[in-house]
């Protein structure tokens, strides 16, 4: 970390829907920016720099930093674009932390957005992979996730029923979240009866396509406490990339999350994550990840993920609620998704999460997943960091 402490002081999320033909990209971005500024009690004149990103190639428009200034308020300000695939939103958050922690800027506006209704998601994701070696059989995000799930199931005997339990949890949680796109509970039978997309992944195991944007405002120590009585202090960030070609992946485990979690918890002095963390907003694009990645995060032993999920420990009211917002399975505007996890964790720490609030949340973790099985993580706390 840099020398300065950094906190989130405001967040804003748009109305998320499968289609938002009522707004163009700039207008969608502006919805989130306006709400975040109001939440922080700031005007655009107070913002020193803007960090923005989405999935390049998705809407057929690149260079979002150039054409979105009307929506971001970035006119004649420093505007920096970050785009790292699925991790874009969480990378934006980490980039914002770095800019403030370094002393470069005091108040930074961070914006992630996507209009998935205007994109060919599978086609665009394909362009992230090697044209000679990867693309022949590649089939977008679901193909890799299915390969991960198969490998995990073969190793530990987990079933699609175990995974369905995760989808049921997140969809139930989403009913508490006015920002979620899918707000209807589902049953395990619903998941198992939904069409098989790529064995063993059913339609209801995966995230939807969403139009939406999220904005987060970060400020340095000294400014943050003046803006809000309970800032969300960022204790640590971690980021890991693992490989070049898809065939290099250690399928069945998420090595990048394993390493990132180890670093994140070490930086914050967390030894028993299950006891010391109050809530997790996980970028979990499909239900099987809800079992596999909590093992990679070190919450439970290898092979024990399903048992922990079935115990109810990750439900609202359980030992460690995961995805009180309903997570990615209920809402997925891809370039915003990682930043929404960060914003939702901030809302939990600030006590602003309303019907989805985990009582007295003091320590939260938000994650980002994407690129090529990459992981971003942030650790949020109510207490000011002691470093």
């Amino acid at each position: 970390m840099g020398k300065r402490r950094v906190a989130i002081v405001g967040t804003g999320q748009t109305l998320h829907r499968s289609h938002r033909p009522d707004v163009n990209g700039q207008e969608l971005i502006h919805e989130a920016v306006r709400l975040a500024l109001a939440d922080a009690g700031l005007t655009i004149a107070d913002i020193d720099a803007v960090v923005i990103g989405n999935m390049d190639h998705f809407e057929g428009i690149n260079a979002v930093d150039c054409w979105s200034v009307d929506g971001t308020g970035g006119t004649l300000k420093p505007v920096i674009k970050l785009t790292t695939g699925g991790t874009t939103g969480s990378t934006l958050a980490i980039g914002g932390v770095h800019l403030v922690a370094s002393g470069m800027f005091d108040r930074v506006l961070i914006v992630g957005w996507e209009k998935n209704s205007e994109s060919d998601t599978t086609g665009a994701i394909t362009t992230a992979f090697d044209p000679v070696w990867d693309r022949l059989v590649f089939a977008g995000a679901i193909s890799g996730l299915a390969a991960e799930a198969q490998a995990y199931m073969a190793r530990y005997g987990a079933t699609d029923r175990d995974a369905a339990r995760v989808a049921v949890r997140d969809r139930r949680h989403a009913c508490n979240n006015p920002h979620a796109q899918l707000r209807k509970p589902i049953t395990i039978e619903d998941v198992l009866a939904s069409p098989m997309l790529a064995d063993p992944i059913h339609l209801l195991d995966v995230c939807p396509r969403t139009d939406g944007a999220c904005a987060v405002i970060m400020a340095c120590e000294g400014v943050a406490e003046k803006l809000t009585p309970v800032p969300d202090w960022i204790w640590a960030t971690a980021n890991r990339h693992t490989y070049t070609y898809l065939g290099d992946v250690n399928w069945g485990e998420l090595d990048s999350m394993n390493e990132a979690a180890r670093e994140l918890f070490a930086k914050a002095g967390i030894r028993e994550p299950r006891k010391e963390i109050d809530v997790i907003e996980m970028y979990q694009p499909y239900s099987f990840a809800g079992i596999i990645w909590i093992e990679d995060m070190g919450l439970v032993e290898r092979g024990k993920g399903a048992e922990y999920i079935w115990s109810g420990a990750t439900d609202m009211g359980g030992e460690l609620p995961i995805n009180p917002s309903g997570g990615v399975i209920a809402c997925n505007p891809i370039g915003a998704t990682g930043l929404i996890r960060c914003a939702e964790a901030a809302l939990q720490i600030m006590g602003k999460a309303e019907a989805r609030q985990v009582p007295d949340a003091k320590v939260a973790v938000s994650t980002g997943f994407g690129g090529c099985m990459w992981t971003d993580m942030l650790l949020h706390g109510r207490k000011k960091p002691d470093f």
Binding site: T122, G123, V132, I142, T244
Partner: protein, 158 residues
């Protein structure tokens, strides 16, 4: 406001991207075409064998020069069967769903080689199953010189 959409067409054009496969990739594809032979490359430091061959071991960040034969037989490392229809952006045509998507551990390799898996009998597709490549008659120095891998023994003891 429910109006007809504005349609912007790019017409019947091609997008002629040219990618360099690199000298190691070229050797691999040439051997595949001429000798139906799979080549990997071994890291002098960690001794891992990589397929496709590349010049640098990313983990050790050292140059690799030691080519080794791998395959042609292997085992399924992991797999899925793609069942949802989508357009292949490489060709503009629909992918031939359902199709088997396999990560094959070629004998002697440490990384996995992606390809189609024949799914005529889905019950034989499992992790650890023994597979062999089926080659195209007319080979053009491309990954497609292998049509697909097929299961020759589904017992999964590796």
């Amino acid at each position: 406001m429910q109006n007809d959409p504005l349609v912007i067409e790019s017409g019947d054009v091609s997008q002629p991207f040219r990618y360099a496969v690199g000298s190691y990739g070229s050797v691999f594809l040439k051997e595949l075409k001429e000798n139906r032979r799979f080549l990997g490359v071994r890291c002098p430091k960690c001794h891992k064998v990589f397929v496709p061959p590349r010049r640098v071991c990313g983990e050790c960040l050292v140059e690799m020069t030691d080519f080794v034969d791998v395959g042609p037989l292997g085992r399924i490392g992991t797999f899925t069967i793609l069942r949802y229809a989508f357009i292949d952006p490489e060709t503009g045509e629909q992918k031939p769903v359902p199709y088997g998507y396999g990560f094959i551990r070629l004998d002697g390799a440490d990384t996995l080689f992606q390809h189609y898996i024949d799914i005529q009998d889905e019950s034989r597709i499992r992790i650890g199953a023994r597979v062999e490549p089926v080659f195209a008659d007319q080979r053009k120095a491309s990954i497609r010189d292998v049509l697909y891998f097929r299961v020759i023994d589904e017992t999964s003891d590796a």
